[in-house]
Symmetry: C2
Subunit: 228 residues, 2 copies
Amino acid sequence: MDTDERIALAMAELLRKQGYAATGINQLARAAGAPTGSLYHHFKGGKREIAAAALRQTGAAYIQLLPLLLDAHDDLATGIESLFAEAAEDMRDTGWANMCPVGTVTAETADTEPELRKVAAEVMETWVEVGSRYFTARGLSEADSRTVVFAVLSALEGAFILARGMRSAEPFRAAGRTLGTYVASLRDEQPKTPARTRAQTGQRHHAPVPRGESPGPPRARQTPNAAG
Amino acid sequence: MDTDERIALAMAELLRKQGYAATGINQLARAAGAPTGSLYHHFKGGKREIAAAALRQTGAAYIQLLPLLLDAHDDLATGIESLFAEAAEDMRDTGWANMCPVGTVTAETADTEPELRKVAAEVMETWVEVGSRYFTARGLSEADSRTVVFAVLSALEGAFILARGMRSAEPFRAAGRTLGTYVASLRDEQPKTPARTRAQTGQRHHAPVPRGESPGPPRARQTPNAAG
DNA sequence: CTCCCGGTAGAACGGTCTCTCTAGAGAGAC
DNA sequence: GTCTCTCTAGAGAGACCGTTCTACCGGGAG
């Protein structure tokens, strides 16, 4: 692997674990197996530029997981629920450490590092674009696709944080269930009509959601038990 | 205001904006209007202890907003949606800077500062407890209450991050809509503890809702710590 | 051989970090 | 007046920060 890729990868790993400010250049050099001079040879912009490269790299990799995980499910609602379950499993297996560095860095530096905030915004916009294209391809209206993408991303990032703090998979279960239910309600509400009407009327979602007989809504209610 | 409170408050503000690692003791001293020595006089544990106090203080203030904002709505679903709308408005009004310090610090330090992670976990567990008690009082089953609380908290924290990065209120709109829909679906699905009766008779909830457990509940607007 | 060059090394620099230390102001007791 | 205790005040210690700088290595061109 090329040195610059290795550096960016090591940076992504450190950002994921401890954020931007706490990650030192020397620590990064050690982790990447490169001397300090090499870091500045490959990235003239120093720490900031390396972090930007790491964010872009990670962002591109993460959004590929969306189709990868959802394609396996014919029903989008169950697919989304299992996506959250997978994320939870992954976090638990890595000792509640596996978190998206984009979220961490954004939370930490949005006010103090304008350049990094811009990079994070670009990454997120790519996520929204790619994701909403995918959901549109799976049959949702454009407006609904956008809503679902934003909701999924928000819930994921938030569940990362809660799970990381509480060392519990419960945030993922809850987020997965609510989003699965929402997507199911979209499917049941408008089997074929272009959702333009629903989106325009706006307040419609407070009306009773038809939950009649449906092939595969998220599974029946279960009592949430604390995950150790 | 007492010096130690002022210190913790200034710390909360800084954590909110730039996280734990990037916040220096001297910067904090300047912000709090206290010399370095006073910081260590009031908090022998130094930076870490001040951060812990700030997290506890903020956490207690934030969860009070839940009943404060939701009590205004007879319908829980619309209440939740408007809660997200309020959060979005507040962030926009503060230049996309108003974020929960608990989330930022957890994301940043969960692996490197075990003590802070534990404090964050306690705060989050309090949120879940208080919140699920509230939703139970509003007519949801205990299991549903817990799910809704986790989903709301996850979506909120995640929307904070996305909105902060993208400078857009869209994450809040999407999260509010999906969660409103979910709560509405719960209401429509199991009218055995009839929400209708509750709404019509005007006999409104609040039996065991914890109110006034603190001398000064925050204002109805978000930013319980509005002392820049 | 020399010259050049992408890349590897890491020492050195000025600055900032957290934390400790000493000094003293102010109030109350005697 | 002195003694004590709480809190303010900030200089200083020692470590580490991001960055820059110089030195070195290997190999293709002349």
